[in-house]
Each structure stands twice: as C-alpha cells, then as structure tokens.
Symmetry: C2
C-alpha cells in the first residue's frame, strides 16, 4: 500500500530545502527578503512534487527535476503575489500570513513578482544538470507558455473580465481555469517528463492526466472557498462569493461540482494504468487533489 | 564614412517589423492589445540594434539575433510599464503616448508586463534558429540575470529606496544605474556575441564596451531630464527633480556629467579598435548615445 502522507512529507522537505537554497540573500536586501517571504511561506508544494513524481515515473531523478520543480513554485508564488495586489484581487492573507504587499508595499510586491518570475527561468537554465540542452530549452518553452498570455496571465485577465457578470457560461469558466490553474499544473507534469526524456506517446498520455487533475483541482478550490473557513484555507474564505466571481458551485451547485471533480480524477488515473505500480505516486497525488481540505 | 542615420533607420525598420510579427493578437484580446500597445509604441530600439550589431561584428547574422533582439525590447518595454505604475513612478506619458495603465488600468498593465517578460524568454527559446541549444540557453541566462534582482529589478528597488534622500552617494547612484540601465544594455551586447559563438576574449572586450556605454547612456538620460522638454523626450521632463531622485547632474553638476559621459564613450570605443572597420556600427552607436536629443 502506497503511503501518500509519508511520500508528501519527504518530498515537501526536499522541496523546502531546495527552495531555501535556490534563492540566497543579496542586495538590495529588501527585494530578496520580499521574494523569500512569499517563496518560503509554506504551502502544499503540489506543483514541484508533481514535477518530481513525473520525472521519476519516466526514469529520471530528483536531481534532474529539482531546478524545474523550484521554478514551478517560483512561478506559482509570483502569480499569487501579483493576484493579491490591491489593483487585482486585493487580498490581505495568503497561506495564513499577510500578503506580500501588506508587508513590503505594492511597489516591492510588484518587483518581487517580477524577480521571482525571471529567476524561475534563470534557475532552470543555470542549474539543470545531466539533461541535454535541447530538453532544458523545451522545459523553458513549456514553463513560459504556461505563465504568459496563453496561460496564467490570460486566465487572470478573463477572470477579471468575468467578475460581477451574471451571464458567465461554462465555456468562459473553463477558459479561466484551463489557463489560470490548468496550464501550470500541466506544465509541472510535462516538464518533469521532458527532463527525463519521455517519448511523445508518454507525453500525450501524461498531458491528459494533467489536464484532468488541473480542472478537478480548480473545482475543489471553488468548493473549498464556499465550505472551508479562512483558518483552514490560510486565505480569505468566501472571497469568490463576495467578489461575485464565476465559480463551478455557482454554475452547477456543490454536489454536481464534487461529482464532476471525482469523474475527472477517475479519467486522470485511467491514463496511468499502463505504468502499473510505478505510477502509484501520481495516482495518489490525483486522489489527494479531490480529498484535500485546503 | 559610416552613415549612422541610414543604418539606424534600416535596422529600426527591421526591428519594428519583427516586433509586430512576434506578438500576434490572441484571446483575451485586451491583454494582447495592451502588450502590443506598449511594445509597438516606437522608441529608438537601441537595445535590439545593439544586439544585431554585435552579432554581426562577431560573424553572425540578423536572422540568428532577431528573436533575442525582440526579447530585449520586450523586457525593456515590460520594465517601463511596471515602472510607470502609480505604485512606482506614477507616470502618465511614455514615448509621447499615455502610459499603459492610463489606457488599460493598473491590473491589466501589471499583467501585460508579466506577459511581455515571460514572452521574451519564450520567444528566444522557441524562435532562435541556427544556433546551438547550449548558446541559446546561455542567452537566456544572460537575459534573466539582467532583468532579475541582480539587474533591473534590483536597480529599481535601490532607486525607490534612494528617493527623497539627501545623502545619496556616487556609489549608490552607480549601483542604481549599473543595475537599472547598464545590465540590460550589457546583455544586448553579450547576447548578440554569444549567438554568433564569440570567444571568451571577445566577450570580455565587448562587456567593457557595454558597461561604459551603459553608464554613459544613464548620465545622458539624467542630463536630458533637466535640459530637454517633455515634448522632446516623449515622457515627463524634470521628473527626476520633482521626485527628488538621485541623478548625476545633482551629484556632479551638468558640465562634469557631460564630460564624464564623453570619457566613458571614449573608453568604450577604445575596446573596439582591434576590430577595425568592422566595428564601425558599434562605434557609431556609442557616439549616438552621447549626442542623442531624447
């Protein structure tokens, strides 16, 4: 029986250590403090762990994947810092701590996001060892596509555009989440695979796995915003409702949303069958996504 | 006799066309419009041209260097968009047009900057042809280092910290400008050289050239802020003075600042002697930096 809790604990420890070492202090101190404040604020580290697990499944090592795994968390952190700004979602708490701009000011928070975003690519380019340069370039293509206007940035724009609208369709919601959450989660999986030199066939299969868990992840996020407390979430609960955001529970109701998430996870896991026992970590990670409480 | 004006005109035309083609419209339209608004707002295109000229000097072609040249302008544009935000320098005009956030709002301007920054690296990784993958990765290392906390971002933080201070030293001013302007100008030159497969010896020589023109560029920028009109500059003149910014004229006076810039350009040009006639474009570009009127 695969013990997901121990697996997560072990990998989280590895990721925390690597993140801490990835970004030593420098000058001006304030910007490094601000970048480190958000990067090392904890969290599930699901994105880096997905990258490590996929690389391992495809025959690679943690050493190969760690720079990309850290970069994925830098990118994720950067998107949270910028999304939380007063000019965007205006959030005061994140991961149970004050948001970056509440501590360092809006100007430094914008620059800390810029710094982390840039450093993610620098870190992959500079620190990836034992992987052909062509594959490292491919990973950079995957990461950049997931963050830019075709990914995270585009999703956030559509999200802002839909705020307060009463006629948000399932299609628009999908667009938001495929771009805002799905693209980066997919990048975790595909970058891990590319680092290990996966075949096109494996890549296609793992992309479907990733797309499904990405959408399930977002549905559960929307559900937790309604059902969990601020304390449980470490960020303001009920925020979607008060901001009149388009969400799955709003569109489908809570029960149908949960059923849809379960269905997506089943489809994701079906893609892993061919790998048998070796894929137990990715299978357990998929199940974790729908059972998590924050 | 080398005709700099025709050279600049020809290369500017090439860069404008390449920038326009580099970023076609997509969805959501608003973010692409906003990114294109600032990217295609004109300007001298000095950074991309420095990259093209250096690549050519080292035996490379425009085709090799164009993706990086465009990326340098995307990065420069992104830094202008974020610097102009109300949370930072709060500027209404840039290149004679309303700043990005004045047209699209602060939220979209932040995201347009994030999108351009990301796209710069994506574009280099995806579009660079005829260059070994190792060298493309090296260019990404050069670009990321120039933008992150060790470059542009760090310079802007120090700039914000020095605002309103009466005891800004020459050392602090140097830090700001080496990071805020110098790092990216140096990256233009070194990336162009790396793309063409330059030797370490050439790279060292060209780095000194670049560092010198970078500092001269900033001194002239500071001088123009005092002596030129808003119309001539296409951005608010006298802004440094009213924001009580640390500048060279404030530290040394106008005359000594100009003399220092001339001296730096002379040192820069001295590095090119070994290349003879072939380096006439880089020589002319250095001279242009101190003689420019905006």
């Amino acid at each position: 029986m695969f013990d997901l809790q121990s697996y997560l604990k072990e990998k989280q420890k590895l990721v925390e250590k690597s993140l801490d070492e990835s970004l030593p202090m420098g000058k001006p101190e304030k910007i490094y403090e601000s970048m480190r404040y958000s990067l090392l604020a904890g969290g599930k580290r699901l994105r880096p762990i997905l990258c490590l697990a996929t690389c391992e499944l495809m025959g690679g090592t943690d050493e190969m994947a760690l720079p990309s795994a850290c970069a994925l968390e830098m990118i994720h952190t950067m998107s949270l810092i910028h999304d939380d700004l007063p000019a965007m979602d205006n959030d005061d708490y994140r991961r149970g701590k004050l948001t970056n701009h509440k501590v360092y000011g809006d100007d430094i928070a914008i620059l800390a996001g810029d710094g982390l975003l840039t450093y993610a690519f620098e870190y992959v380019a500079r620190e990836t060892k034992g992987v052909p340069a062509e594959n490292v370039l491919e990973v950079i293509k995957i990461l950049t596509k997931a963050v830019g206007a075709e990914g995270l940035v585009g999703g956030q724009v559509m999200d802002l555009e839909c705020e307060g609208k009463t006629d948000v369709t399932a299609e628009m919601l999908s667009f938001i989440h495929i771009h805002k959450t799905g693209a980066l989660l997919e990048a975790c999986v595909t970058s891990g695979a590319v680092l290990a030199g996966a075949t096109q066939e494996d890549l296609s299969r793992l992309s479907i796995y990733a797309k499904n868990i990405g959408l399930a992840f977002q549905i559960i996020d929307d559900i937790l915003d309604v059902t969990a407390t601020t304390e449980e979430l470490g960020k303001t609960a009920g925020k979607d409702l008060s901001a009149d955001k388009a969400t799955y529970p709003k569109l489908w109701g809570l029960e149908e949303s949960k059923a849809k998430a379960d269905e997506l996870i089943e489809s994701a896991i079906a893609q892993l069958e061919v790998y048998g026992e070796k894929a137990q970590s990715l299978k357990a990670l998929a199940e974790f996504i729908v059972s998590r409480k924050n």
